[in-house]
C-alpha cells in the first residue's frame, strides 16, 4: 500500500527521522579514514596545515552538499544520484551511474565488513578470548567473522528502516562522541598548559602548496553524505529533512575534524627545547613526531592524552570498530536502495523492486546485495577489495561530480 507524504508516494515505510538520516550520513563520513588521514596530513602539511585542510575541505563539502541537497529535495526518491542522472541525461548515463553506485557501495560494504572483523578479532585476542595472538589470527577466521557481521547487518536491514536507522545512529553516536571527547580534552589540555600552543610553530613548515595535496587525500573523510539521498522514500518530510541532514552532517563533521586535529597537535608535550624524543633517541618537533608515525600518528598522539596505554588502545580500537560498524550499516542500506531503484525503473530485473509486505523493505534487493557483499568479503584478497573500492568509489564520485556540474 502506498503511503503519502507531502504528495510523494512511496511503497517503503517512512520510519526515519532527521536524526536517523543525519547519523547515517555521519556514519558514512567518519570512517576509519580520518584516523589514518590525520597522521599523514600532519606529515605533509604540518601542524597548522592539517587544521586548515579540514576547514577548507569542510567548506568545499558544504558547497557540494548544498548542490546535492537541492537535487535530493527536488527528487526525494530512493536511488540518489542515479535518479538525478535518469532525469537529466536519460537511460544510458543513469544505467552506468546506478550500477556504479550499487557496486561501489557493495564493495565499500565488504571492505568495512573485513575491517570490522579484523579489529573485533584483534580486540578479542588482546583480552585472551581467542586461542590466537593478535598477529596470529588466521585469514579464514577473519573472513568467517566478516561474513557473520555482514549477515547480522543484512538481517537488521531486513527488519526495517526504523531498526536500521536506530542501530546505525547508536554506533555513529558512539564514534562521534569519542572524537568530540578527544577534541574537548585537547582544548582543555591546551588551555591548562598554554606552552602546547608552541607546537603550532612553524605553522606551515612545508609551504602553502602542500595544503592542496592534503586536501586531496583527506577529502575522502567528507564523502558519504550522499547516502542520505537514498533515504528519500523512507524519511518523514523528505523535501526538508534530506537537505537539512546533508548540511548538518557536513557542519558536524567539519567541526569535529578541526577539533580532533587540534587535539592531536597539542596532545604531544615537547621538552624545554621544543622537541620530542623518538624511541631511538632522535629529537623532533611535535608535528614531525606525529608525522613520523604516518597512519598511526593520530593513535600515538591521542595515547599521549590518555596516560593509561591499555585504556587508550581499547578506546581507539572501539572507535574504529564503531566507525566500521556504522559505515557497514549505511553501505548495505545505500547499496540496497540503489539496486531497488534500478529494479523499480527496469534497469535491473523487476524483482529487485519487490517489497516485503510485512517489513516494507526491498528484501530481494537486500539479500542479493548482501550476497555480493559477503562474496567479496570472503573470497577476494583484502588488497583487491581495497583496490576495487578505491577505483569504484573514485569513478562513482567523479561521475556524481560531473552530473552535478
Amino acid at each position: 500500500m502506498a503511503s503519502m507524504n507531502d504528495n510523494i508516494s512511496s511503497e517503503l515505510s517512512r520510519d526515519l527521522n532527521l536524526f536517523h538520516i543525519t547519523m547515517m550520513g555521519l556514519g558514512m563520513m567518519i570512517g576509519a579514514g580520518v584516523f589514518i588521514g590525520i597522521g599523514n596530513a600532519i606529515n605533509y602539511a604540518g601542524s597548522g596545515g592539517v587544521i586548515l585542510t579540514f576547514a577548507f575541505n569542510g567548506l568545499v563539502a558544504m558547497f557540494t552538499a548544498m548542490s546535492y541537497a537541492e537535487l535530493s529535495s527536488a527528487i526525494p526518491r530512493a536511488g540518489g544520484a542515479y535518479n538525478f542522472a535518469r532525469i537529466g541525461f536519460g537511460r544510458g548515463t543513469a544505467f552506468c551511474g546506478g550500477w556504479m553506485e550499487w557496486f561501489a557501495s557493495s564493495i565499500a560494504g565488504s571492505l568495512y565488513a573485513i575491517t570490522l572483523s579484523i579489529y573485533t578479532l584483534r580486540c578479542l585476542s588482546q583480552w585472551d578470548l581467542l586461542p590466537w595472538g593478535p598477529n596470529e589470527i588466521p585469514v579464514i577466521a577473519e573472513r568467517l567473522m566478516a561474513a557473520i557481521v555482514a549477515c547480522i547487518f543484512i538481517l537488521i536491514n531486513y527488519r526495517g528502516a526504523s531498526e536500521t536507522g536506530k542501530i546505525g545512529a547508536l554506533f555513529t553516536l558512539g564514534q562521534t562522541l569519542f572524537l568530540v571527547a578527544v577534541g574537548g580534552v585537547g582544548i582543555i589540555v591546551a588551555i591548562k598548559d598554554p606552552s602546547r600552543f608552541n607546537n603550532f610553530d612553524p605553522f606551515m613548515p612545508h609551504g602553502w602548496e602542500k595544503l592542496l595535496v592534503t586536501m586531496g587525500f583527506t577529502y575522502v573523510a567528507f564523502e558519504g553524505f550522499e547516502v542520505i539521498a537514498q533515504a528519500g522514500d523512507e524519511v518523514v518530510d523528505p523535501r526538508k529533512n534530506l537537505p537539512k541532514a546533508m548540511l548538518y552532517s557536513v557542519v558536524i563533521v567539519t567541526m569535529t575534524y578541526v577539533a580532533v586535529s587540534f587535539a592531536a597537535i597539542v596532545a604531544v608535550k615537547a621538552g624545554p627545547d621544543g622537541l620530542v624524543a623518538l624511541e631511538n633517541g632522535t629529537r623532533l618537533a611535535p608535528w614531525e613526531w606525529i608525522g613520523h608515525y604516518g597512519p598511526k600518528g593520530f593513535g600515538e598522539a591521542v595515547s599521549r592524552l590518555i596516560p593509561n596505554s591499555v585504556i587508550s588502545n581499547l578506546l581507539l580500537t572501539l572507535a574504529v570498530i564503531f566507525a566500521a560498524t556504522s559505515a557497514l550499516n549505511a553501505t548495505i542500506y545505500s547499496a540496497t536502495r540503489a539496486s531497488y531503484a534500478l529494479g523499480r525503473d527496469r534497469m535491473l530485473p523487476t524483482f529487485f523492486a519487490k517489497i516485503s509486505p510485512k517489513r516494507k523493505t526491498p528484501y530481494i534487493a537486500l539479500f542479493l546485495t548482501g550476497s555480493l557483499v559477503i562474496l567479496m568479503a570472503t573470497c577476494l584478497p583484502v588488497t583487491q577489495v581495497c583496490f576495487l573500492c578505491k577505483y569504484n568509489v573514485f569513478v562513482f564520485i567523479f561521475h556524481g561530480k560531473c552530473l552535478r556540474y
Binding site: 529535495s73 532525469i87 610553530d201 537537505p243
Partner: protein, 53 residues
C-alpha cells in the same frame, strides 16, 4: 606569531564562519528549495519514469 600563522588563523576563522553562516541561513534556503514548484515537476517526471520504465 609569524605571517603564515596570522594568515592561517584568519583563513580558518573565515572558512568556519562561512560554514556557520550557511547553516544558519539553511532553514530559509531549505524552505525555499522545498517549496520550489519547478523542482516538484522533477519528482513527477521521476514517478512517470518509475511507472513506464
Amino acid at each position: 606569531m609569524d605571517l603564515d600563522m596570522t594568515i592561517g588563523l584568519l583563513l580558518l576563522i573565515v572558512s568556519l564562519s562561512i560554514i556557520t553562516i550557511l547553516v544558519y541561513w539553511s532553514k530559509k534556503t531549505i524552505d525555499k528549495i522545498a517549496n520550489n514548484t519547478d523542482n516538484r515537476s522533477l519528482n513527477k517526471k521521476q514517478e512517470e519514469i518509475s511507472e513506464n520504465g
